[in-house]
């Protein structure tokens, strides 16, 4: 192929006999019966009179000069057709490489998860209009967070409203495999808004003084099934993110599986869990982008022990860090 800026002879991988098979579907049967498919080159050679081509042979070096010159000219137009074809297709998610996916994701407002496969991300990008049309909905926020944490069966729950007697909190739960019913949830089909029947079941605590938000506009995002672990206490010896120091590195081996990927090379740790700073930043960025301006995401709660956390509901003092459930970690939204 022609590589821009490449010196003479370098990078040229054009070969006679290259087929111009369908780049969209490489597995397409070769309808040309093993012959090169019709191309600009074929067309050009077919258009000119025989005398201009000169001798034609299976060995290109034995062909007439006219044939050789026409072949060179036709070949570069075939190459250009390939570029145009793949280039136009690259604007469709799934047909280009990761770079084109990144650009499409940027302009469509959909953030890719560090472990999300190209195919899965491309699939999400195809439904960007539908997703954006629901922006502001709790379900869309949960979908985006769950997709960002792809690779692990993360269950996301959003609690909307601060659970006072006059305005019971509403819980939205997105199971790892979509909107499926899970037995341990309240007795209602998953995918529906479940209103707590017991006022005060979610009672976080008072808002900050002067908050411009309504009590019903406060939100909490709870994550279950994530791959992170507790990373000890502030008073523990050693370094942050130091659960595994077998590599003798100053920060130990990254224990956040989302960390260290090509999309997420930053090794900066966080305090309290093995989650990497970049992962947390990405997650909070998604939350900030998908929560509407009339609502406030108070906390992202990373739950390490589902049973105790679900039994240990907020008691109206969770606004004070010392009173919170120790089986969870709290990131300010």
């Amino acid at each position: 192929m022609i590589v821009p800026g490449t010196p003479v002879g370098g990078g040229l991988d054009f070969e006679l006999g290259d087929t111009l098979a369908d780049p969209v579907n490489p597995a397409r049967p070769d309808v040309s019966n093993g012959q090169r498919s019709i191309s600009w080159l074929d067309t050009l050679l077919g258009l000119v009179p025989r005398w201009l081509k000169g001798r034609v042979s299976l060995d290109p070096t034995q062909c007439g000069d006219g044939y050789k010159v026409l072949t060179a000219a036709g070949a570069i137009w075939d190459e250009q057709e390939l570029i145009l074809r793949q280039g136009m297709l690259a604007s469709f998610p799934g047909f280009g490489d990761d770079r084109s996916l990144d650009l499409l994701g940027l302009q469509r407002g959909i953030v890719r998860g560090p472990l999300e496969t190209s195919a899965a991300y491309a699939e999400r990008l195809r439904f960007w209009r539908q997703v954006n049309a629901r922006k502001g909905s709790p379900w869309v926020l949960l979908e985006q967070v769950q997709a960002y944490l792809a690779g692990y069966p993360v269950e996301c729950r959003l609690i909307c409203g601060d659970g006072t007697a006059t305005s019971p909190a509403t819980r939205y739960t997105l199971a790892p495999d979509g909107y499926l019913y899970h037995g341990e949830y309240l007795d209602a089909p998953n995918g529906t808004a479940v209103t707590d029947t017991t006022p005060g079941a979610w009672d976080w605590g008072p808002q900050e003084p002067g908050s411009p938000f309504l009590p019903t506009s406060r939100e909490w995002l709870i994550l279950y099934g994530h791959p992170w672990q507790r990373d000890g206490l502030w008073s523990d010896p050693g370094l942050w993110n130091d659960l595994d120091s077998s590599d003798n590195g100053p920060l130990g081996t990254p224990l956040d599986p989302y960390q260290g990927q090509a999309k997420n090379p930053d090794r900066t740790p966080t305090y309290g869990s093995t989650a990497a700073f970049a992962t947390v930043s990405g997650l909070l960025g998604i939350a900030a982008s998908w929560v509407p301006p009339h609502a406030r995401l108070e906390q992202v709660i990373v739950c390490f022990d589902r049973t105790t956390f679900d039994n240990f509901q907020p008691d109206g003092t969770y606004n004070l860090p010392g009173n919170r459930d120790p089986n969870a970690l709290y990131w300010k939204g």
Binding site: M1, I2, P4, G5, T6, P7, V8, L12, D13, F14, D18, T19, A21, D22, P23, P26, P60, C63, D65, K68, V69, T71, A72, A73, A75, I76, W77, Q80, L82, I83, L84, Q86, G87, M88, A90, S91, G96, D97, R99, S100, L103, Q107, G109, W128, R129, N132, A133, R134, K135, G136, S137, S211, P212, F213, T216, W290, P292, P293, H294, A295
Partner: protein
């Protein structure tokens, strides 16, 4: 197997020289001794022509491929995608507009209808030639005897060239006995919307389709509302979270939007109605508020290389344009520092315009990537608002460039 090209290969045009090298390489493989071709040889000439044509086509193809990637699309290609895929058209050039101060030194009130007053600004260009720009009052005004009044004017021409700098001496044409005009803050004219700005707006379009009031819907609606004559009302918007949601807006020419939010017959009222009917969903309230204009005077000393080909006036001209651009691009309310960068003098939650950004505008008047052509190698900048410190601002505050005291020193 088909070749799968990388994205960079797909969007890079190929120069004619590279095409020719490729053609020659193929021919050499075929055993043709291209080095024996003399200048003017028919085959050599034909291949050169083919190379040029092919190269030209790759530039076209590159733009066609980039077109669907908004961050890479150029010129009319980007405009086409923004328009047909995102329903967003670029804004045309806008005249400078805003308030100036009329003073009446006579003993009787003066009453004027719209367009009664013509203001003339004679600008001396860097090459010592002069350009004349004229402005008209856009609303009725009565200036009390011995009093003064701020009232709106608009340039008769469009684009950045129509900018009226703060403190500029202007005259009335024809002169009106006893009436004088001063310019307290810079009135900015705007060129046709840049591609980057258009792309940023286009990307708001689809989230704005949501009926659940995401932030983008407020921005998109505000930036699309027009007056009855089709002219745009709002040039900048900031959504402050809360319930009510605060929608802070600035006029297309950089000042407060005239009118009353509760009067639909005024521009601000039209905008408010659009927000309430198109952006706000059930259970949400929103208030539309004008920005609070804060005029900031600036003093700088620019140190210029002695051998620079730019004259002092040209340097000042470049810096003035750079400062206009910087101020016109300031977001409403300035910037909030990330939590990690908060320090005792920049408390969490406070909002700022950083002196360094103004200094950068003075030190890089030819753009950030023009070290070779940049005549300024250092500058000292202060403001009348915060001296040599960063400028503390607030949620709805929009800073405008006031009078500029410029000194150019050659070293």
């Amino acid at each position: 197997m088909p070749k799968h090209l990388s994205f960079e290969q797909l969007i890079a045009p190929i120069q004619a020289l590279d095409v020719r090298k490729t053609l020659y390489t193929i021919l050499q493989r075929f055993g043709i001794k291209t080095t024996t071709w003399q200048p003017g040889d028919p085959t050599r000439t034909t291949l050169q022509a083919v190379s040029l044509l092919h190269s030209a086509h790759t530039y076209w193809a590159s733009n066609a491929i980039r077109m669907k990637f908004l961050q890479l699309a150029k010129g009319d290609w980007a405009r086409a995608t923004a328009k047909f895929d995102y329903g967003t058209e670029g804004n045309s050039a806008q005249p400078a507009a805003g308030n100036v101060m009329f003073a009446n030194s006579t003993g009787a009130p003066m009453v004027f209808a719209p367009e009664d007053i013509t203001i003339k600004y004679t600008k001396t260009n860097a090459d010592q030639s002069t350009s004349v720009y004229t402005y008209h009052n856009t609303s009725s005004l009565t200036v009390a005897a011995g009093g003064s009044l701020a009232s709106a004017i608009e340039a008769d021409s469009v684009g950045r060239a129509s900018t009226l700098p703060a403190g500029t001496a202007v005259t009335l044409s024809p002169a009106i006995n006893g009436l004088t005009v001063t310019v307290p803050s810079t009135l900015l004219g705007r060129d046709e919307e840049s591609i980057q700005s258009l792309v940023n707006r286009a990307m708001l379009a689809h989230p704005a389709a949501s009926r659940l009031s995401p932030a983008e819907v407020y921005q998109d609606v505000a930036l699309r509302v027009t007056n009855a004559d089709g002219s745009l009302i709002c040039g900048k918007v900031r959504v402050v979270p809360g319930n009510p949601v605060r929608v802070l807006v600035e006029s297309i020419s950089g000042g407060a939007i005239p009118g009353d939010a509760n009067d639909v017959n005024t521009p601000l009222g039209r905008l408010n109605v659009a927000i309430q009917t198109k952006a706000v969903t059930q259970g949400v309230t929103a208030v539309v508020q004008n920005v609070i204009i804060l005029v900031v005077g600036l003093t700088y000393t620019a140190f210029v290389r002695r051998d620079s080909q730019y004259s002092d006036d040209q340097v000042k001209d470049l810096i003035a344009t750079s400062l206009y651009d910087t101020f016109s691009e300031l977001p409403i309310g300035g910037f909030e520092l990330p939590t990690a960068l908060v320090d005792p003098s920049h408390l969490a939650g406070s909002r700022w315009v950083f002196l360094d950004s103004l200094k950068a505008a003075v030190e890089n008047p030819t753009g950030p990537d023009s070290n070779v052509t940049n005549p300024v190698f250092k500058a000292v900048v202060t403001t009348d608002y915060a001296g040599a410190n960063d400028l503390l601002t607030g949620d709805g505050v929009q800073m405008q460039l006031g009078q500029v005291n410029a000194t150019v020193v050659r070293l």
